[in-house]
Structures are given as structure tokens and as C-alpha cells.
């Protein structure tokens, strides 16, 4: 039925018909208003108009595809054999006009129109534009099989319906947008919460990728992290791209992710297989189009993400890019957090392994000095299990009665500063263990939180030290008693041989004198050896004490010269003595100084014949440290030494050459003792020598010798 036919009805019939039409239009309005989805709106528009009371039998609603300009059928009624989503191309069909100018167009007889497409052979058509926010978004097409079927009333009804539909579409679109935004927001929130709860890197990246794939509605994708050390991307998550690309390494600029990583800009590749930037490593993937974005924190690259469509019909658009741009920063932060966490985790594990596998006992205490944790080394050393010690005070647990107060003091101190000590502690079974103890305050983020203590079992070390000390003491005692025991018979040998010499002289048996003298000399040599060995062993045992006293330097030297004179002049040598001015007195070990000077003079005499031996003494102030020193030198004009011979001179039992011992005698200990005596007194002995010219030994001693760093009492 058409409006024209209705207009010729009778009045009461017309009244009734009008009421029915009103009701139909009300239903239409209600249905449109009730529609939430756009598609519901389309359907309710065409269904509502296709009402017996209105008499519109052939209806279609097209939407404009803004990219192509085509019209795509959304809903229709009365049109047979029309495909779903029927696409009417741009420039075709009558309804094009309403789209172009946004006005209602009426074609009274479609046969006159070349553009007419529909299946009806004849009839009329009304095209009403659908306008949302001033833009024409589609067109409502109403047809009749008869020409001239529509009039003003129809135009009003259809325009009103189109307006209502437009409003409903606008509202549905807003709603959809809202919903989509809400979904996006939720997806991002989900991603972030997933990502922050999952900190293991690979899981995080897998989650990131899954979110991106869901959010963008893509086929698949991959995520890579950037390794700064070698400037490469490493694929760590891969999903549905036709191959598992995990562990693929990409240089900057290589492939889609390499390009975005380098340019730091996202990229859409509509047809991947035609793209020239393809990486060889991706020649076998099943993708059609690609969208990739760098993962950045500020300007710093942390990775890249790529999403793919394998369906040729699906093409990435600006909307997808917008979504990816929203998503990428979240993903970047998640990746970075996960990376930092993983790194921290690795370090933590590393240190935990160190502590766990350390053979020394390590224990951590809280500020109350209660045990928080201990390692297997602690369990092993002290015999307690970790469960037994956690929460207990450390000192009552392992300190002994004797070391309790010392242990408490250590612990208190370790709260503030590192401590180091040696002590004895008690194991669970009551046995004692000697330990080296190290304690340091544990400071986290500037706040003191407890103590880390390390116990190192030194029982064996201490035992070894005690044994070594005992052995050394035994050696010293042995040498001392040996020396004494040897000396007694030696005294007899020396004494009797001397006495016999006197007797044979008195009795006139001179033929025995030579032999007796040899016995005597050998005895004396043996005695000096023994004495020197005793001295050395005392020095080495640290038992050579200094007996410091004040004495007049010149008087001491004169005394030495008197004693040495017979010895020095024996080989036809001359002894010259040079005294510096103002020698004054010195505070030192007189006996040892005399012994040293006599030794040097005796050496000089031994290696010099028909020459001069010069003993010089001087008092000087050192330039470096202003110390006042007394310098004693003994120079000879004897055989001298080579540099090589001088090298070993001050070592025990070394004369310049073994052969010299037989020729010149001596124990080879005198200079070793001299040097040690000098060191004991804070001085030194040096030698200069030239073969064939002579040697010069110089002893330097502080005018005031100190013992163990204590200033000398003047």
C-alpha cells in the first residue's frame, strides 16, 4: 500500500488508518531507541518501516565505506537474492546522490534512470541520507514496484525515521567507542598487572605478546629485547608467525624490528613479502602485513615488538597504530622492570650461592643480635642446624664462659663498624673451636639492619702455630744448652793447652809449643763458632735483648782499639783511628757495639797484609729524618771483594768464597750477627769494596737507640 492509495480512503477509514500509522511510527521510534548496537539500529529501522500500516515493502540501509567511497548494505527487507554486505561501488546506483549532497532524493520512475541497479523492472525510489555529526554516513533506500508511489507524507515519515536512526547510530557508535576504550583500558590494566606480577623476563614478554595479539586482533607477533653490549635485538617471545623465531638475533636496521629499533619510530608494512627491508632470517614466515614498534623508555631502547596479520584481507590502519603506540610504553616498562628484576635476581642468586657454598661459617643477625640466617658452613662448624639457631642470640649460643664478655663486645661493636678478632667458641657438642671472627654492620638503603658475621675455623692454623713456636723454643733451648755443654769441655781444652804451652816454655820443651798452639787455636775457633751460633739463634728466636746504656763514644772506641791492636798489627798492618769532633755520648747496647767493631777490625786484619786499617768514628745528623747517628767505619787496604761476593756477605755461614774460609779462617757468622745487631738497634751496616783495593764497612746507629718504638730514656 502506498500513501497515495491511503489518501483516497473514506474519512472514518482514514482516521483508523492514521491511528495505525501513528502506532507503527511509535513502535519504530521505540525500537530504534532501544537499539544499543549499530547493527540493531539498522535492523530496527528497516523492520520498523516495513510495517503493514506504513506500506513500505522494499527497504535497504547502506553505510558509506570512507576508505573506498563504496556503499555497503547493512540491513534490508524485501530484496531477494541480495548478498550480505552487498557492496555498491562508488559512482553506481541512484542512492549515490543522497550520499553526495546529504539531501533526500525522490525518483518517481526508475526506468528513466540509467543508474538504476535494483532488480525491480519498474517503480519509484526514495533515498534518504543518514547524517551523524554533520557527516553523511549512509543512505536509507525505500522502493516501490509502482512508479509515483511516494508523496510528501512519505518523505516526512522517512526523514524522521532516518533522523532517529542517525541519532541512534551516533549514540551506538559513541557507546561502542566507550566500550572499546574501556576494553582497551582494561586490556592495558590487565597487561600491566600481569606484567608486574610476573617478573620473570620470558614470562613477562610472553604475556606482553599475548596482550598485544589480543588487543590488536592480529594473527601473531614477536617481542625482542635489546642487548646493549652487542647492539643486537634478541627475539624472546614468538607467537603464530609461521615459525618459532625465539632466539633470533637481529642487528639494528635488520628486519621490521631492527628498523623500528634503529629509527625509534613505529612502522606498518602492508605487504611483507614485497617489502625490501626483509631480514633473511624471516624469509620463511607466513605473514602478510606487519606492524612493528620500538620499546622505549624515554629515548632509551629496551626492545621491539612486531605484530602480524597472515590474512591478506586484514590490513593495519591508523587505529591499530594508535593502539600499539598506547601499548608499547607499558610493555617497555614491563620489559625493563623484568630485566632489572632478573638481573637483581641473578645477583641475588650469585651471592646466595656464594654464601651457601662458602666453607666458612656465615651468619646474619638482626639489630637485637638474634640470628636471622646461617649457611651450611655455620651448621657444619658449630653443629647446629639452621632451624635450631634462627631467632636465638648468637653470643649465649656459641661463646664460652671465658669469651662471653669479649664476644658481646665484638657483637656490639659490629653494629657500628667492621670488627676482626680471634677467639674461642663452643660447638653444640660442647667442644671448643678456635675461630677468626669478622663482623660487619649490614646497611640496606642507608639503614642499619643487622650484622653479618663470619667465623673461620683456625684450630689447625693455631695448632700449627703453637707447634711451630714450640719447635722454635725447643730449638733455641737446645742450642742454648748445647752451647753450654760444648763450652765446658772446650774451656778445658783451651785452658789445658794454654797451660801446657806455659809449662813447656818453663820446662824448655819448645818442640811441643807449635802443636799445643794449634790445639788452642782450633779450640778458640770452635768456641767462637758456638758463641756466634748462640747469638744468631737468640736473635732469630727474638730473645736477643738489648741492654741499653749511656756511654762515652770516644772512650768506648779507645777501649776497642786497645783490645784489637795486637790482632790488627799481626799481619804487619797499621791501625789508624780517626775521631770526628764532638762525638759525645750515645745510648745503645755497649757490649754488642764493641762486639761488632771488634768483628769488623778482626775481619779487616784477616784479609789485609802490610796495609792500613782505618777505624773512623763520626757523629752526623741524617738529612732525611733529622736523626742523630753515629757512624763507625772500618776500611782496609786488603784483598777486597767483587760485587757478587758482596751480595751474600751478610748471610749466615757465607764468606765471600768457601776457599777463603780455609785460608783466612772465621765462622762466616760475624757479619750476619753484625747486621742483625744493627737492625735490632735501628741502624744498618753497609759495605763498599773493590777487588785488590780494599773494603770498607760502615755501621750507622742512632745516637739514642730505642726499643720496640719506645723513645730512649736519656
Amino acid at each position: 500500500m502506498t500513501a497515495q492509495k491511503a489518501s483516497i480512503s473514506s474519512r472514518p477509514g482514514r482516521q483508523r488508518r492514521l491511528a495505525r500509522r501513528q502506532a507503527a511510527l511509535l513502535r519504530l521510534s521505540t525500537a530504534i531507541a532501544a537499539a544499543h548496537e549499530e547493527t540493531e539500529v539498522y535492523q530496527s529501522v528497516v523492520n520498523g518501516l516495513h510495517d503493514e500500516a506504513l506500506g513500505y515493502n522494499f527497504l535497504g540501509l547502506f553505510l558509506l565505506d570512507p576508505e573506498t567511497g563504496d556503499r555497503v548494505l547493512q540491513a534490508s527487507v524485501g530484496w531477494p537474492d541480495v548478498p550480505e554486505n552487498w557492496r555498491v561501488h562508488r559512482g553506481e546506483g541512484l542512492s549515490e546522490r543522497a550520499l553526495r549532497d546529504g539531501q533526500l532524493h525522490y525518483t518517481a520512475d526508475v526506468r528513466r534512470e540509467s543508474q538504476y541497479l535494483a532488480s525491480l523492472a519498474s517503480g519509484s525510489e526514495v533515498d534518504v541520507p543518514l547524517r551523524v555529526n554533520g557527516d553523511t554516513i549512509g543512505v536509507l533506500v525505500v522502493e516501490s514496484s509502482e512508479p509515483n508511489a511516494f508523496g510528501e507524507e512519505d518523505f516526512e515519515i522517512l526523514t524522521a525515521a532516518a533522523n532517529q536512526a542517525s541519532i541512534a547510530i551516533g549514540r551506538a557508535r559513541l557507546l561502542a567507542e566507550e566500550r572499546r576504550r574501556a576494553d582497551e583500558h582494561k586490556a592495558l590494566l590487565d597487561t600491566m598487572s600481569d606484567l608486574s606480577s610476573e617478573l620473570e623476563l620470558s614470562k613477562v614478554l610472553q604475556a606482553v605478546l599475548e596482550r598485544a595479539v589480543t588487543l590488536l586482533g592480529v594473527t601473531g607477533g614477536e617481542v625482542a629485547i635489546y642487548e646493549e653490549t652487542n647492539r643486537e635485538l634478541v627475539v624472546v617471545a614468538s607467537q603464530n608467525i609461521g615459525k618459532d623465531s625465539t632466539d633470533t638475533r637481529l642487528k639494528l636496521g635488520e628486519g621490521a624490528m631492527g628498523v623500528v629499533a634503529e629509527s625509534q619510530e613505529p612502522l606498518i608494512i602492508p605487504s611483507y613479502h614485497e617489502w625490501l627491508g626483509q631480514s633473511e632470517q624471516y624469509a620463511d614466515v607466513l605473514v602478510h602485513s606487519v606492524m612493528a614498534a620500538p620499546l622505549l623508555i624515554g629515548r632509551r631502547l629496551v626492545g621491539a615488538i612486531a605484530t602480524v596479520h597472515s590474512d591478506p584481507e586484514r590490513i593495519f590502519n591508523k587505529e591499530d597504530l594508535r593502539l600499539l603506540n598506547m601499548f608499547a610504553p607499558q610493555a617497555a616498562i614491563a620489559v625493563e622492570n623484568a630485566r632489572l628484576y632478573t638481573e637483581a635476581q641473578k645477583q641475588r642468586q650469585y651471592f646466595q650461592a656464594l654464601v651457601r657454598n662458602s666453607p666458612v661459617a656465615i651468619v646474619t643477625l638482626d639489630l637485637a643480635e638474634k640470628i636471622v640466617n646461617c649457611n651450611p658452613g655455620f651448621e657444619q662448624l658449630f653443629g647446629y642446624t639452621q632451624d635450631e639457631v634462627i631467632g636465638r642470640y648468637i653470643d649465649p649460643l656459641i661463646a664460652t664462659e671465658a669469651t662471653r664478655s669479649e664476644a658481646l663486645a665484638y657483637t656490639k661493636e659490629a653494629l657500628d663498624r667492621p670488627i676482626h678478632g680471634i677467639g674461642q667458641r663452643r660447638r653444640k657438642d660442647g667442644t671448643l673451636v678456635d675461630v677468626e671472627i669478622l663482623g660487619v654492620p649490614v646497611i640496606l638503603e642507608g639503614e642499619r639492619v643487622g650484622i653479618l658475621a663470619i667465623y673461620h675455623d683456625i684450630t689447625e692454623l693455631l695448632q700449627a702455630r703453637r707447634e711451630a713456636e714450640a719447635a722454635n723454643t725447643a730449638k733455641s733451648q737446645f742450642l742454648a744448652s748445647m752451647s753450654h755443654e760444648l763450652r765446658t769441655p772446650l774451656n778445658a781444652i783451651i785452658g789445658y793447652s794454654e797451660m801446657l804451652q806455659e809449662e813447656v816454655a818453663d820446662l824448655g820443651h819448645q818442640e811441643f809449643t807449635g802443636d799445643l798452639e794449634k790445639i788452642n787455636t782450633a779450640g778458640r775457633h770452635l768456641l767462637s763458632l758456638i758463641n756466634n751460633i748462640l747469638d744468631l739463634s737468640k736473635i732469630e728466636a727474638g730473645k736477643m735483648d738489648l741492654h741499653l746504656e749511656s756511654f762515652n763514644v770516644k772512650a768506648m772506641v779507645e777501649d776497642v782499639v786497645t783490645t784489637a791492636s795486637p790482632l790488627v798489627t799481626k799481619n804487619g798492618n797499621r791501625l789508624a783511628v780517626e775521631y770526628g769532633s764532638d762525638l759525645g755520648s750515645m745510648y745503645a747496647d755497649l757490649t754488642k757495639l764493641r762486639q761488632m767493631l771488634l768483628n769488623l777490625l778482626s775481619n779487616a786484619a784477616k784479609f789485609t797484609e802490610q796495609g792500613t786499617i782505618t777505624l773512623a768514628v763520626d757523629r752526623r745528623t741524617e738529612l732525611e729524618d733529622r736523626r742523630v747517628m753515629l757512624v763507625f767505619s772500618v776500611a782496609d787496604t786488603g784483598i777486597g771483594m767483587t760485587a757478587e761476593q758482596m751480595g751474600k756477605l751478610f748471610e749466615a755461614f757465607s764468606q765471600a768464597e768457601a776457599s777463603t774460609t780455609s785460608k783466612y779462617g772465621g765462622t762466616g757468622l760475624g757479619l750476619a750477627i753484625t747486621r742483625r745487631f744493627c737492625h735490632l738497634m735501628g741502624g744498618d751496616v753497609q759495605v763498599e769494596s773493590e777487588p785488590g783495593i780494599g773494603s770498607k764497612f760502615t755501621i750507622r746507629l742512632p745516637a739514642a737507640v730505642t726499643v720496640a718504638g719506645q723513645p730512649a730514656a736519656e
Binding site: H484, M499, G523, R524, M544, H547
Partner: protein, 121 residues
């Protein structure tokens, strides 16, 4: 003729030194330990005492202190004889009240000069 009291536990040393001193013209009497040395000295008649320091019963240091403490022996010169010049022995001997000090093995000339020095005072 000076009369010398030689306090020495070692038989060979005693024999040697006494014979050598006798030959040099001294009259030598011998004691074998510190206690005997002090007793004999107190009986009087000695011009000089040669005192070994490491003696049984009471040692030379203690014997010297006792001799110095007793009125009748206070002024008799004492020469301490010790083994090898142990650090501090000399000071120790003089501190104990000895007048001089010499080390063993005895060098007769050196000892004689120390003895003569004290005897001629």
C-alpha cells in the same frame, strides 16, 4: 804472697786455674760450691775471691750478696767469672757487688791484670 779463694764447681776449670795461678806465685784455696765458698771466705785470710757464677747449692750471685752483707767479708775484692758474655751478665755481676768481671775461657794475662789491679788498690 796473695791468697786467692777460687770458687768453682767444675773440676777441670778448678784444677787448671789453680795450677796456673799457683805457678804465677799465688796461694790458691778452692771451694766447690757457693755455700762452701761463703763459709771459707768468712773464716778469713783471703786477699781476693774468684767467683764462678753458675754454682750448685747457692749460685755466685747469691754468694756474692752474702759476702757483701757480712762484716768480715765485705771488703774482699771479688772477680765474677761467667761463661760467654751473656748480655747483661756484666751489669748483673757488678750490681751483685762484684768488683770486676771476666769471661771464661780464661785468658790468663787479662785475668791477671784485673787481679793485680784489685790487689794493688
Amino acid at each position: 804472697m796473695s791468697r786467692i779463694l777460687l770458687v768453682e764447681d767444675n773440676e777441670m776449670n778448678r784444677d787448671m786455674l789453680s795450677r796456673r795461678l799457683t805457678r804465677k806465685g799465688y796461694e790458691v784455696t778452692m771451694a766447690v760450691d757457693g755455700r762452701e765458698g761463703v763459709e771459707m771466705a768468712k773464716q778469713g785470710g783471703y786477699d781476693l775471691i774468684l767467683m764462678d757464677m753458675s754454682l750448685p747449692e747457692i749460685d755466685g750471685w747469691e754468694a756474692t750478696r752474702q759476702l757483701r752483707a757480712a762484716e768480715e767479708t765485705r771488703s774482699i775484692p771479688i772477680i765474677a767469672l761467667t761463661a760467654h758474655a751473656m748480655a747483661g751478665d756484666r751489669e748483673k755481676a757488678l750490681e751483685a757487688g762484684c768488683d770486676d768481671y771476666d769471661t771464661k775461657p780464661i785468658e790468663l794475662e787479662r785475668l791477671l791484670s784485673k787481679m793485680e789491679g784489685l790487689l794493688n788498690k
